[in-house]
Structures are given as structure tokens and as C-alpha cells.
Symmetry: C2
Subunit: 336 residues, 2 copies
């Protein structure tokens, strides 16, 4: 049978010990001005009475909740579940707790989540934007409430915010180089929705990487998908009907490539023979596939998550001294 304790308070400890609550409070917090004996007595009594500080009272008083909010599109992508694991690890070290919100790429949900986080008085926010977010007004709102926010991975274009992200160009360059050195002439790009910063970046870095290799950029070899399964198939079809079918394809990410490879297989196209693939994400399960892509571009979810969290905590520790932070990781080709 378990007792139903109504939680012990500082006052009770004080009463039992016939000292004042403030002394108890100080003793429990190892305040230097309190005598060793008193401190010991208090701690012993606290232990006996099974005292646990009421954090809600402390949060209230200290105007600090030791909680950070993390907003990301979805946990079903391994990229984000890795990132949040890293974030959680850092938070744990710092004795912070993590509030979770999935936006599911819905801008309204993002706003809703942020509003809730704000109501809960989170000390700070880490966020990776959804694919459809255009309105960033919540940034100003958070600023006026003095809640710092650090973006990671999918970050706003504006440099007026703290950002941690991957430089896609380095990975793209390596990808194109890998294809070129293997003799591919017709290299295509299956890109994401043109509204996405991440997509325009891919296009420009694709273009630039081709140029560096002395290749000509042909816009027929760049198609777009809305990132749905159907969209991915349509994009692939567009490439397959070209007079000179590409033999090498860089795609927006590994999820697109999964669909595209499946499609290729269904059409009798030899994956890794007739057609070769590279994409972004470095999805961990390629090693189980019989015909994986040639390579995948690592974007370091853990490092991004960890760094973003560290920046946030630095700001929280030291809000005055820290200016706007921007960390860019290189992306990196990993052969499969």
C-alpha cells in the first residue's frame, strides 16, 4: 500500500525543526551563510519527509522553466529523430527538459505549437522549418517576449536569426564529381518544390558543380517533385522520356530516391547499371538494400542538433554577450 503524501513543503521542514523557512530554503540550496550543522539537520529532515521542491513554484518565482521547445516537421524521418536525440542529450546535460512539437509541414500548426510553447514559458526554442512556411512573424513575437530561437537544418533565408545548417554545395560538388569521374555524360537533378529554399540551393549548386566540371547546364535535366510518391514517379517519368535519358541522377533526398529506384525497377531499368543515383540525407538503411544508390550525402543531423542546442544554451546562459550565431556544416558524400 502506498501512502498518498501531500507533498512536503519548506514550511513543514521549518516547523518541525523550529527554524524559519528562509533558513531551510537557503540550507537546501547550500547557501554559504548557513551553518554546517543547520544545513545537515535540514537536509536530513528533508530526506526523512521525502521533500521535493515544487518546481512549478520555482519556475514561477525564477521566471525560468528549464524547458526548451523543439519544433520540427516530423519524427518519422530518421534525420529528425537523430537530431532530437542529440538535442535531448545536450538538454539533459544542462538539466533542461524538452518539449516536443511536430509541425507536419503545416504552417498553422507551427504557429500553434510556438504559441503553446510561449504560454508554457519555455526558455528557448529550437526549430526546423516545415516545407510550406513563408510567414516568419513568430520570430518577432518571440523576440519581443525575449524567447531565443535557434533554427537548424531547414532554416529561414534571412540571416537575421540564429542558424545551423548544412552547406549543400560541398556534397553536390562531390556528387557531380563522382558521376563525372565514372564517365556519366547526362546528369539529372530531381529537385523538390521550387518554393523551397533547400530546392533553389540545390539547383544553383548543381549548376555550379557542373560548371566546375566543364559540363553544360541543361534545364531539361532538372525536374521537380512535390515529394509525394506520385510526384516522385512523375518526375522520374519526365526524365525517362527524354531523348537522351540521363544515366545519373541526383535527387532531393533519399526518400525521393527510394521511390525513384522502385519505379526504375518496375520499368526494368538496371539500378546501379543503366542508371545511378545519389541523394541527400544518408538514410541509415541503404545497407540493407540489394541495389542501393551509388552514394548519399550526409547532412549530420546529430551535429546540427547538438550545435543548435549548444548555441541556444549559450544564449540562455549569457544572453547579452552572444551575438547572432551562424554555423554551417559541409555536407559530405558517402559511398554505399
Amino acid at each position: 500500500m502506498t501512502k498518498l503524501n501531500k507533498p512536503t513543503t519548506i514550511k513543514e521542514i521549518a516547523r518541525k525543526l523550529k527554524i524559519s523557512p528562509s533558513t531551510v530554503s537557503r540550507a537546501l540550496n547550500d547557501h554559504p551563510s548557513i551553518g554546517l550543522v543547520t544545513t545537515m539537520r535540514v537536509k536530513k529532515m528533508a530526506e526523512e519527509l521525502n521533500y521535493e521542491p515544487n518546481q512549478t513554484a520555482i519556475f514561477f518565482k525564477q521566471r525560468k522553466t528549464f524547458t526548451i521547445g523543439v519544433v520540427l516537421p516530423t519524427l518519422s524521418e530518421p534525420f529528425f529523430s537523430s537530431a532530437i536525440s542529440a538535442i535531448e542529450a545536450v538538454a539533459e546535460d544542462r538539466k533542461y527538459t524538452v518539449l516536443l512539437g511536430q509541425s507536419l509541414d503545416d504552417a498553422n500548426r507551427e504557429n500553434q505549437i510556438i504559441t503553446t510553447f510561449k504560454k508554457h514559458r519555455v526558455d528557448g526554442i529550437l526549430m526546423s522549418l516545415g516545407k510550406n512556411t513563408t510567414d516568419l512573424s513568430f520570430v518577432d513575437i518571440l523576440a519581443s517576449s525575449q524567447i531565443p530561437i535557434v533554427f537548424f537544418d531547414c532554416v529561414p533565408e534571412s540571416a537575421a536569426v540564429n542558424r545551423v545548417y548544412c552547406n549543400l554545395a560541398s556534397g553536390m560538388e562531390e556528387a557531380i564529381e563522382a558521376f563525372v569521374s565514372r564517365g556519366h555524360k547526362n546528369i539529372a537533378l530531381i529537385n523538390g518544390p521550387e518554393t523551397l529554399l533547400a530546392a533553389t540551393e540545390r539547383t544553383s549548386s548543381f549548376r555550379e558543380a557542373l560548371r566546375k566540371q566543364g559540363y553544360e547546364y541543361n534545364e531539361k535535366y532538372v525536374v521537380h517533385t512535390d515529394l509525394t510518391e506520385e510526384g516522385n514517379h512523375i518526375a522520374m517519368e519526365q526524365l525517362c522520356v527524354l531523348p537522351e535519358r540521363p544515366s545519373a541522377i541526383v535527387s532531393f533526398n533519399d526518400y525521393v530516391t527510394l521511390d525513384v529506384i522502385r519505379y526504375a525497377r518496375s520499368k526494368g531499368i538496371g539500378v546501379g547499371q543503366d542508371m545511378h543515383f545519389i541523394s541527400f540525407a544518408n538514410y541509415p538503411l541503404w545497407k540493407y538494400m540489394e541495389n542501393p544508390p551509388l552514394a548519399s550525402i550526409e547532412q549530420y543531423p546529430d551535429e546540427q542538433g547538438r550545435k543548435a542546442a549548444e548555441i541556444l544554451f549559450d544564449i540562455l546562459d549569457n544572453s547579452d554577450k552572444i551575438g547572432l550565431q551562424e554555423i554551417v556544416f559541409p555536407s559530405k558524400l558517402v559511398f554505399k
Copy 2:
């Protein structure tokens, strides 16, 4: 330029309106005793001053945080990321917020997380146990603090707690039936660590399912893995060296099967020809594999998560009237 507002309080509204704080509070909460005009005036002023209630004060006063904690082994398994998405959805409906903790199958971390949650005064906890948890003393501690907990998926053996889980037997039966009807004689089980409830359950339901089919149970066809990649390979080897090599294998879950299929391929064993597989989890990516297992056993992460959350909220709404809850979902074979 954003203003740095120090948050507006009820008192300020009261002062500006020359009425008392309690009236403001009541007006904001649509208390029936407040006149319509006053209510309007208050709300208008609140709007103007950009008033936002200080939730930490409310939490403190109400002794309720509208926060639930979710403890699970890892988000990197799609099973759990699905589950938490469902949980989050329910929580959002009820205006609750979700605190996240990953145990990484470490019992110490579990205790740590629960302690933190308790300090944060979560209103309730949802939990799926790690693979190594034996000590459930935190259950009593939570009970004495009157923090309800609902377990899902990986639940304690004790029926003295709220539990939502899958009945493995139904899926196992369907699996064995599928193998038998396809003419397999030697059916093996690659099970998890024997310390796991989920493993002993699989063994007994495996045994029972064979019996129902009029097959004899042969313990040589049951091997164990510690669920690491190496352990999975070793288990598979044990089966491969048997004089009558099994042609059909049920394994602990799809992750084991991934490793095992990969191993089989490396040994030149024809997956789906020489050897056929079924496992638990219904991992969403089988459709991309060239040689997927014959089938996978769905364990309904969303339904489990949703149901567990609903039970928790029912308890929170109505703690007296609700007795111990136990919901068992059937597991179900899904062909690939």
C-alpha cells in the same frame, strides 16, 4: 524594431481600467457574474496591451501543468515515432503539451527521466519500457505522488498497472499458418533476449501456434539474439548449420530480419526462395526492398499510442471513477 515588452499582467489591466484585478481575472475567464460591458472593456484592453496569461503562475496555483511526459526507448524506431505522433495529436486536442524522454533502453535513464518529469510536475506519464528494465519501483513512487502512468507496447508483467499492448499470439498464429499452408516443414524462431517478457511471449505463442497446426515443437529451432547486428548474425548462423536447415523463419522484429536477410544474401541463400521470413513490427519500408519478407506483423503503434493517451486523459479528467485499464490489441499479419 521589436519592443521588449515585459509581459503585461492582470494587475496592469486592472490599474488602467481602474477596476480590481479579480474582476479582470473573472472577465478574462468569462465568469458569468461579470457584466457584459466590463468583460468587453477588459478584453479589449487585454488585447491592446497584448496580455498573455502567465502559465507558470497558473500552473503553480492550479497545481496542474497540462503537461504529460512520454518515456520511450528510442525515437529512431519508426514504431515509437509513430506512437508519439499519435500521442501528440491526442495531447494537442486536449490542450496538453508533451515532454519527451528517450531511455535508450537504459534503466537508469528511465529513472532519471521519470524523476525529472516528476519534478516538473507533469500531470501524467505514458511509458514504454526499455529492454533491460526490471525494477519498477518508480511505479509506486509515482502512485504516492498521484501521478498516473499508462504503459504501452512494452508493458510490465504485473497487471496492477494501466496497460495497452498487442497480443502477439494472434499474429504469430497467422504467421505459422501462412508458412504451413505454403508447405514449410521446418519453421524456426529467432527470438530476443530471454529476459524480455516480449520474448517469452513469442516463444510460448510460437509453440502454441505450431501445436494448433499439428506441428511438433523442436527447441533447436528456437535461437536467441541480443538484438545487435552481430547477435542477429550469430543467431542466423546457428540455424544455418542445423542438419535440416529451416526454410521459414519468424523473427523477433523487422530489424532483426533486416540483418538476417542481409546475412542470408551474403551467403547466397535465396530470400523468398530458399528461405522465407516473417517478423514483428510491419516496418514501413519493406515496400522498397527487392526481396522483402513474406509478411510482417502489424502492432499498431498509432492505435496503441492514441489509446494509451486517451486512457491517461480519462484518468486525469476523472481520476476517482476510473479503475485499472487494460487494452489488448490483436496483432495482424500483413503480406508484403
